[in-house]
């Protein structure tokens, strides 16, 4: 479908229209902001805790979520890119897909860089890509917005809302505004150097060990990372005696993540776990499998890390310590 575009006085006009048929997330109005929230919408699709099945003593019964149709409203390009990535990773996961198929994604273009973000360097923004959203909001002025409709799903959701079609020229103007936003990002050439060093396996093991010492295994980064998807499972007993298995967000940076019942632990050293985490985010092997790097440049790991081993800190140190092949 060719992208259609309309003028909109305010995102709330769209929000109020969609609220007739959908639950809106986040529920607060005026959530259409050009800065990603600290907590990404990851949990709306890959729940932080969820039931997998119940066991009544005889039978195991799958417990798929049955959410009502909902809208993720005003999602920035980094988080939409992450959802697009997760859509592939969880393509055959029935729990994720049960939620995903009920979700309508309304993106919002960022027109100024956020503090820790580097989305242009990892091809994840600041403009929303059509294939990652159903509709895109783009601010023109205090009282005027552009609404791009990316697909049939978006168009159907718009039914009943009368909007004026936008001029063709708005597309070019949008591209220009996004391009000028890209120019305002800080120089982050250390990122590219870090990525090269990781893929050439040129990061000294001592550096991984130092970074491992700084990692407090707090799981702040893995919880906030919009593409982190590791999970653990446990079982709970209901008051009627039924057993429920749940899965919950886990973190590959925990010491016990790979520890086996025998106490054998293939990644006992924190440095090895830190190395694998960053390889997962920037490894070419993963990029080949998913069409892009696992990092979408939101910078939340830097924002939250108490040990100063978020993405900027790590990549700067790698870039300065690595012995790069030239």
């Amino acid at each position: 479908m060719k992208t259609q575009s309309y003028y909109l006085d305010h995102p709330n006009t769209l929000r109020n229209h969609l609220a007739k048929s959908y639950q809106i997330e986040p529920p607060e109005a005026d959530s259409a902001k050009s800065t990603p929230p600290l907590i990404s919408p990851k949990g709306q699709l890959f729940a932080e805790h969820e039931n997998l099945f119940t066991f009544d003593g005889e039978c195991f019964r799958e417990t798929l979520p049955k959410p009502a149709p909902f809208v993720l409203f005003g999602v920035q390009s980094c988080d939409l890119t992450a959802i697009h990535y997760q859509d592939q990773f969880f393509a055959n996961d029935p729990y994720y897909q049960a939620r995903r198929q009920q979700a309508l994604l309304i993106g919002i273009d960022c027109l100024s860089p956020c503090q820790q973000g580097f989305c242009p360097s990892v091809d994840a923004g600041p403009g929303v890509k059509n294939e990652t959203a159903d509709m895109i909001l783009h601010q023109l002025s205090a009282t005027s917005w552009l609404l791009l409709v990316c697909n049939k799903k978006g168009l159907n959701a718009l039914e009943g809302l009368l909007l004026n079609p936008a001029n063709e020229s708005e597309f070019t103007d949008r591209d220009n505004r996004i391009a000028s936003c890209v120019e305002q990002f800080n120089d982050d050439s250390y990122l590219q150097q870090g990525i090269t060093a990781i893929n050439q396996n040129q990061v000294p093991e001592e550096l991984w060990q130092q970074l491992g010492i700084q990692c407090l295994s707090c799981s702040g980064c893995t919880n906030l990372c919009p593409t982190c998807s590791c999970y653990g499972t446990w079982e709970r007993q209901d008051s009627n005696g039924d057993i429920r298995r749940q899965r919950f967000w886990d973190s590959c940076l925990y010491e016990s993540f790979q520890r086996e019942a025998s106490q054998h632990n293939p990644t006992e050293e924190a440095g090895e776990r830190v190395k694998r985490f960053w390889t997962h985010k920037f490894g070419d092997n993963f990029a080949q499998e998913f069409g892009r790097y696992g990092c979408v440049g939101c910078g939340r790991c830097e924002q939250t890390c108490p040990g100063v081993v978020g993405v900027h800190s790590v990549m700067k140190r790698i870039a300065s310590d690595a012995k790069l092949d030239t």
């Binding site: 055959n92 897909q97 049960a98 999970y231 079982e235 590959c252 993540f257 790979q258 499998e289």
Partner: protein, 291 residues
């Protein structure tokens, strides 16, 4: 593994099928050889030797185990389990008739087709004998494999497993039991054909005894043992492509989602043992040559 609720797409099944614990025999210290029964032999796909399944013990959780005997026409299969963590401790409290759960089979098994007419030496340590058991039975019963030897290492006699099977296999293959602690006099050790030390300590003696030279090595046991054995045989002139091993990892999903069973080797960091393994060829685990 179909789930029809969403669009007919093939979804991963994270919900087990109910199975019955038929019975068990004690087989080595803290180890039991269990029999389980599926609702029907068709309840799961036919497993290949070396593939594994996820066993659910309701209330305790789920963990990966190998089939020592794959399901027969009554849907009965066997698995050897050592009491080690929460799931296995709970399993050891179960009684015949109890309902448990299974998902699988998962992973890549031993390269059965590539083994035809090969001169195979298997080196197993401790519980590592279990993933080889189904393969051994297949090779000796249906393939009447001629050149087959097994070196089985254990810490002591009490920790040796699959005792009835090893007794049976003695007639069909060259079997070498190796114990770190033989706990007996030299005379009785010799009488029972037990070698002392680790499988690698015993290897010169094993190879002298065999009247053929192995051209294929299958390994299963602690990673340190497998790695030492592989390197040892490469020094002896065996090709890295002729060495296969089965790797153990913690797993919570077995379908490549939960992330727990990754390999930390840099060039394989995107591998999950549940999908890409557990069977690996030695050369695939080595870092790629630099150009």
């Amino acid at each position: 593994m179909q789930n029809s609720i969403l669009n007919n797409q093939a979804f991963y099944n994270l919900t087990p099928i109910a199975i019955e614990l038929v019975d068990f025999i004690n087989d080595g210290e803290d180890a039991r050889h269990f029999r389980f029964r599926l609702p029907s032999p068709q309840s799961i796909d036919k497993p290949e030797p070396g593939q594994f399944f996820m066993l659910s013990v309701p209330g305790a959780g789920e963990a990966p185990f190998t089939f020592t005997v794959t399901p027969n026409d009554q849907g009965v299969f066997r698995a050897l389990v050592r009491k080690m963590g929460e799931v296995t401790t709970a399993l050891f409290q179960c009684q015949p008739g109890d309902i448990l759960g299974i998902r699988g089979p998962f992973g890549k098994g031993w390269p059965v087709n590539a083994l035809a007419n090969k001169k195979i030496l298997m080196v197993a340590g401790g519980c590592g004998l279990a993933p080889l058991a189904g393969l051994i039975d297949q090779l000796i019963t249906s393939h009447h494999h001629k050149h087959l030897a097994l070196v089985y290492g254990a810490r002591n006699r009490a920790l040796q497993m699959l005792n009835p099977e090893r007794l049976r296999w003695q007639q069909e293959l060259s079997l070498f039991d190796v114990l770190e602690d033989t706990g007996s006099t030299q005379a009785s050790t010799e009488e029972n054909h037990i070698l002392e030390g680790t499988p690698l300590d015993a290897m010169d003696s094993v190879l002298r005894t065999l009247d053929w030279t192995p051209d294929t090595l299958l390994l299963c046991g602690p990673e340190v043992m497998m790695s030492a054995a592989a390197k040892n045989f490469i020094q002896r002139g065996l090709s890295a492509q002729a060495i296969w091993l089965s790797i153990e990892r913690r797993m919570h999903c077995a379908v490549g989602l939960c992330g727990h069973c990754y390999l930390s080797e840099h060039h394989l960091a995107h591998h999950y043992v549940c999908k890409d393994g557990p069977t690996y060829r030695w050369d695939h685990l080595q870092p790629p040559e630099k150009n």
